[in-house]
């Protein structure tokens, strides 16, 4: 048996070594899986496709960044809530609502151009996401209804609401009655920052938000408040912090950011509102947030890692005619290893035998 001994302080070396160890372990496991199950495929080229090609091919680099941007944004918002012990697991719903409200403004001003259009749409998206998460905050503070239930159930409602909107008022009038909005005009689309790719300004905003959050948590009072409430609710109350305010703050922030991410998907890579808007980002971002130990800068790297698993996994399907389930298995495995290796940062592993010898 093994035993974990806490380190006196987190190991700096392990912060960098543990991801490498996790990657190695994933690679070894994947090697056995591919070697035994998929006998007619050359394992080294599978590996190249999974881990290397997305990092050296300029097109896939741009796509990695496109995929990571919404994850960064949503995970940032969630990490603030998680620090405060507020369990918003329905960011997916807030993301969808933000896409709808922000997109609605864009569709309303369909024939109008202006520099103010995108900021206005963004405002609407943030407010939409905030409103949607605010329902959970209201019910939690007023009736002690757990936010896990409310945010989760409202996610399903949001997806159905999207369907109703696309079937009705938001449907493209010249779209043959298919449930899609009009494609947005250029002045309502996010500016591209890398010509020839889909990479837009959303990434820059996501990265800026990461740093703002980082400073915010370090410096700002509400940052302190959130830290305290999350780790020990009673301690926070004694310190004079308002529990209710924290709940409102955490949910409004995470909802607003998720809403903005929804709009950025709509006026970014998608270019229109479609029933395909919900794509599990809200849930994936939860994984991202915890992989990063809720650290705003680490969230950038975790998002890229998750994006890599999507794109690498997709290409493995394409190049080797493998089923889509391979991507899920691979993602799950990678996460298991990352989470497991993470333990080395805070703990030393000691085998029982060694302990006995010491004694």
């Amino acid at each position: 048996m093994i035993r974990l001994i806490p380190r006196t302080q987190p190991s700096k070396a392990m912060i960098f070594l543990s991801p490498l160890l996790a990657l190695t372990l994933t690679a070894v496991t994947a090697f056995f899986i591919f070697a035994f199950i998929l006998t007619d495929i050359e394992v080294s080229s599978v590996f190249y496709t999974l881990f290397v090609e997305p990092l050296i091919d300029t097109y896939y680099i741009s796509e990695l960044l496109v995929k990571a941007a919404p994850l960064i944004m949503i995970a940032l918002g969630l990490s603030i809530g998680f620090r405060a012990g507020v369990w918003n697991i329905g960011a997916e719903g807030q993301y969808v609502i933000g896409g709808i409200t922000g997109g609605a403004v864009g569709l309303y001003f369909y024939n109008v151009e202006g520099f103010w259009l995108i900021p206005l749409m963004s405002l609407a998206a943030i407010l939409g996401g905030m409103f949607y998460a605010g329902i959970a905050a209201f019910l939690k503070t007023k009736y002690q209804v757990n936010e896990i239930l409310v945010t989760l159930m409202l996610t399903y409602v949001a997806v159905l609401f999207l369907s109703a909107m696309l079937q009705g008022p938001m449907r493209n009038p010249s779209g043959f009655n298919f449930p899609e909005s009009r494609p947005f005009h250029d002045s309502a689309l996010l500016p591209i920052i890398w010509q020839g790719t889909r990479l837009n300004i959303g990434l820059i905003i996501a990265v800026i938000l990461s740093f703002v959050t980082w400073f915010g948590i370090k410096r700002h009072l509400s940052g302190l408040q959130i830290k305290i409430t999350g780790s020990a609710p009673r301690a926070a109350k004694f310190a004079g912090f308002d529990d209710k305010k924290t709940i409102w703050f955490a949910l409004l922030i995470s909802g607003g950011v998720a809403g903005l991410a929804g709009l950025f998907e709509v006026i970014g890579p998608a270019g229109q509102i479609t029933p395909g808007l919900p794509q599990f980002y809200g849930f994936t971002a939860i994984i991202v947030a915890f992989l990063s130990r809720l650290h705003p800068i680490a969230i950038i790297f975790s998002s890229l890692l998750i994006a890599l698993t999507y794109i690498g996994g997709e290409n493995v399907q394409i190049y080797f005619n493998l089923p889509s389930s391979i991507t899920n298995i691979f993602q799950g495995m990678l996460l298991f290893y990352f989470l497991a290796c993470d333990v080395l940062i805070q703990y030393k592993i000691v085998f029982f035998k060694t302990i006995r010898q010491k004694l």
């Binding site: 097109y59 009655n177 899609e180 029933p275 794509q279 997709e314 394409i318 889509s324």
Partner: protein, 360 residues
Amino acid sequence: MANRKLTSILKFSLLSSMLAFTGGAFADPVKAAFVYIGPTGDHGWTYAHDQGANMVQDQLGDGVVITRIESVAENSDSERVITSLARKNDIIFTTSFGYMNPTVKVAARYPDVKFEHATGYMRPTDNISTYSARFYEGRHVIGKIAGRMTNSNIIGYIASFPIPEVIRGINAAFLAAKSVNPDIQIKIVWVYTWFDPGKEADAARALIAQGADIIMQHTDSTAPMTVAEDEGVLAFGQASDMTAWGPNAHLTSIIDEWGPYYVARVKAVADGTWTSTDTFDGVAEGMVEFAPFTNMPDEVMWEAQDTILDLDAGAVHPFTGPINKQDGSPWLAEGETPPMFPDIITMDFYVEGIDSKYPN
């Protein structure tokens, strides 16, 4: 670019000289790719497209290399998948409506690659074709069978999403059933999913409990068929032959027969004769076919066969006036048939006689 052109010209001349010696086999296989919305094992929409891909492989053998990618969501991911495929393939079939705008965008960037988009309508560049099938002709046939076979005069219809294709199916089935059985009623349940066996089964049970003794589905799983079998009522399969899931319930299935089209299009790329087209084939062209007719008396089967022959000959149209819309306003006059566009392509209303509220 110029360089690549040069090599391909060189390759071509080399090829043709080789062909002269070997007598005609393709030396350079066509690379064809298929993008699927669901898993190939859904036994519905995606399964049918995958059967088509199999036919291409069987018929062209070494002349084609096929790539398939399944469960590609209809969102911004699909543009990346299609782009990845465009870098390595000659022709790409994107087999769901939601891939329309991504297909159009990628096609503009890869003018040398041919794109085939199923069920869409946009062909802004001349390297995109669109194709779909007149499935409502299939619904016309099963509607007649349903009208004859029901005892309760209630058809239960499990519908996925309110898009024109599904609406056309409901209207066509209802009109055909009514033509042979004036007392027919249709109960429609929208499940808002293409594939959720549990929910489809729940819907089938609800419809049966409300008196439906014939189940029609426009969803992809075999669940409604298994429920019909279990509850002792009759049902029609969707997209592929579902006899095995309801040996005593199965009447027939509308089969989406994409194979011949796929073979023709891939061959056209090989021959260099591919052009941008819009295909909307039906029973006559063999794109809509039927599983064996089972669990029905001979007269009903003969009538169905006759209907198929009429469709084959172009002698009947599933939407032949007089037909009113649900609100009573006239749609088609006596003997009139609707134009393909906009009436059929964009259909967004129920016909008169359907009681349910139109979902909007």
